[in-house]
């Protein structure tokens, strides 16, 4: 059984449905790209996986998201540890108002890591994983806001990795980056998928082609089609998927 599986997930904002009866399994340790036109429910879906959707209090969620067999929307579910397991990389890099070092150690500190040496180790390991270490190792005490946007996004990735997540949820993570920074983020995903389940929301079809092992197509809040990327790209079974892949609908 797969690590993350979605069962009959329906989400409505103020009574307007944003996702309708979505069910599928997200394959482990692969890049799953979620594609579809704007407003099709991609981001809503992603926000369900770490329950960040709870922040909005006019939202209603039905159905189940099972992680390791446990429903994360169950009344007694531990939201804090769920969010630790599901790292988030958002569209615009969101650095915390503190130093580079403190950004990376923010999560570990919350979860009880106190020893200086251990924190320093985490910082180096995660910054190296995000291939940022060489650029910032000399100025870890500098405010994170001083980094370039591309560096900030890699810092956000390092910060997410520092709490040892099991999956990475990425919401159009290259949308606000220059082409070179975007390329380095994509490169990182290719390396990270060996150890993490990556769920990538993207509106760039070519990015999905480059990165995805598994494709999921949403249209108007509905899960239209999902399957191995190669198969779906070369031979989509639903006419709507075909139209989207051909660029007729976008």
């Amino acid at each position: 059984m797969s690590h993350i599986s979605v069962r009959n997930l329906t989400v409505a904002y103020n009574g307007h449905p944003a996702l309708r009866d979505v069910s599928f399994d997200i394959p482990d340790r692969q890049v799953t790209a979620i594609i579809g036109p704007s407003g099709c429910g991609k981001t809503t879906f992603l926000r369900c996986l770490n329950r960040l959707i709870d922040v909005n209090n006019s939202v209603r969620v039905q159905g189940q998201v099972l992680i390791d067999g446990e429903d994360i929307f169950a009344p007694r579910a531990d939201v804090m540890s769920l969010r630790r397991k599901m790292g988030l990389l958002s569209q615009k890099p969101q650095v915390l108002p503190m130093s580079i070092f403190d950004n990376v150690t923010y999560g570990p500190r919350l979860h009880g890591v106190r020893k200086r040496a251990q924190l320093e180790q985490i910082v180096e390991r995660c910054l190296r994983m995000a291939s940022l270490w060489d650029e910032v190792s000399g100025r870890l005490r500098a405010p994170a806001a001083e980094l370039s946007v591309g560096q900030q996004q890699r810092l956000c990735l390092a910060r997410g990795l520092a709490v040892q997540p099991e999956a990475l949820l990425c919401d159009e993570p290259t949308a606000s980056l220059d082409p070179i920074s975007a390329q380095s983020i994509e490169q990182l995903f290719m390396e990270l998928k060996n150890d993490y389940t990556v769920v990538l929301v993207t509106h760039i079809l070519r990015q999905a082609r480059r990165l995805a092992d598994y494709l999921v197509f949403f249209y108007m809040g509905e899960l239209v089609e999902h399957g191995p990327a190669q198969q779906m790209l070369s031979n989509p079974s639903d006419p709507r998927t075909r139209k989207y892949l051909e660029g007729v609908i976008s």
Binding site: N50, L52, V55, N57, S58, M80, S81, R83, R84, M86, G87, L88, S90, K92, Q94, V95, L96, P97, M98, S99, Y106, G107, L110, H111, P143, A145, C156, R159, G160, V163
Partner: protein, 341 residues
């Protein structure tokens, strides 16, 4: 929507004869260019003149007060009057120290009472309250800000003063005797530093909450969600992220409340007791500077130099408020620099 797709008769005339690159014909050139330029100069001049006039108002206020207080300054030194503790106009003794201390006591205590409650309320409204609840509470707080200060004064006389006289002062006399500042010196009438501070705290509450909530809501949801997504609780997110980003604005909110409290006259005058002495405890009466001026200007003006001394009082008040504003500005600059790190 390129023009080539439009039917020929819909295209602009100069496109039709191919003269689009040439200059427009003289008959089509807009007239009145000079008039518009003159108008523009006039408006520029008027706008700058008004701005300078407003700035000059502050300067002229200081100058006018200074000129009017020169007579009393000619007889006694400024330092002597500021530190003097005896206020006896008939004998020509104008010691401002009790009034300055009274103002400070009342204002500082009011801020100590108001600030924590206001910041916590703002946090609740900005970060925790459901949309519906906020929609009810917010307008109620805004209404509080619009209530005239004399109404707060009346509330103080009718509710706070009796409460202090009948409950708080006896309780303090019983349990806190010997504690400096807190033990009542003698039987309290209820008109005292504490009553004035409570009334002032109530008055500044809506100002501080309003600004602080606005500032906290200005923190981008993205940063907040970044913190939550790392497994932080709501409170941890407020403490480490929202608070840090909002700090300069929160300081501004408190300073705004402080400035409002410092110059407030009517409500304080009604409950402070107005006795020209140094208060020894919270239950002693005080005589804040604005109340002194409001109570006495226009009365007993036959006493020599009295009018001039009151003008000096107003000048001191103005200068202190200006200094506070300056300090606040410096704190803000410091906090902005710090919060971006």
């Amino acid at each position: 929507m390129s023009s080539s797709s439009a039917p020929p008769d819909m295209q602009p005339p100069q496109m039709r004869d191919g003269a689009s690159a040439g200059p427009p014909i003289d008959a089509d050139r807009p007239t009145g260019g000079r008039l518009r330029l003159v108008m523009d100069r006039l408006v520029t001049g008027a706008v700058s003149a008004v701005s300078v006039a407003v700035a000059l108002l502050t300067v002229s206020l200081v100058v006018a007060l200074l000129v009017r207080s020169l007579p009393v300054l000619g007889l006694q030194s400024l330092a002597e009057m500021i530190t003097g503790t005896v206020w006896h106009p008939l004998q020509g003794k104008f010691g401002f120290w009790p009034f300055i201390v009274g103002t400070l006591w009342v204002t500082v205590l009011a801020m100590l009472l108001a600030t924590p409650a206001c910041i916590l309320t703002a946090i609740y409204l900005a970060e925790y309250a459901a949309t519906g609840l906020r929609a009810v509470v917010r307008p109620m707080i805004d209404v509080l800000a619009g209530i005239p200060s004399v109404v707060y004064g009346l509330f103080g006389v009718l509710v706070i003063v009796p409460l202090v006289r009948d409950r708080l002062a006896p309780a303090a006399a019983e349990h806190l005797s010997g504690v400096p500042l807190l033990a009542p010196g003698k039987v309290s009438t209820g008109y005292c530093v504490l009553a004035a501070a409570v009334v002032l705290a109530l008055m500044v509450t809506p100002v501080i909450i309003s600004v602080a909530e606005e500032v906290l809501r200005g923190v981008s949801p993205g940063v907040r969600e970044a913190s939550l997504s790392l497994g932080a609780t709501r409170w941890e997110t407020v403490k480490h992220v929202s608070f840090r980003i909002a700090m300069p604005g929160l300081i501004a909110a408190v300073v705004l409340g402080f400035a409002r409290a410092f110059g407030e006259t009517m409500a304080v005058l009604m409950v402070a007791g107005n006795v020209a002495q140094l208060p020894g405890s919270l239950f002693d009466p005080a005589y804040p500077l604005p109340a002194l001026i409001a109570n006495n200007y226009g009365e007993m003006m036959s006493i020599p130099l009295y009018d001039s001394a009151l003008m000096l009082g107003a000048l001191i008040l103005l200068v202190v408020v200006l200094i506070f504003n300056l300090l606040a500005e410096l704190v803000l600059i410091w906090a902005r620099r710090r919060s971006s790190q």
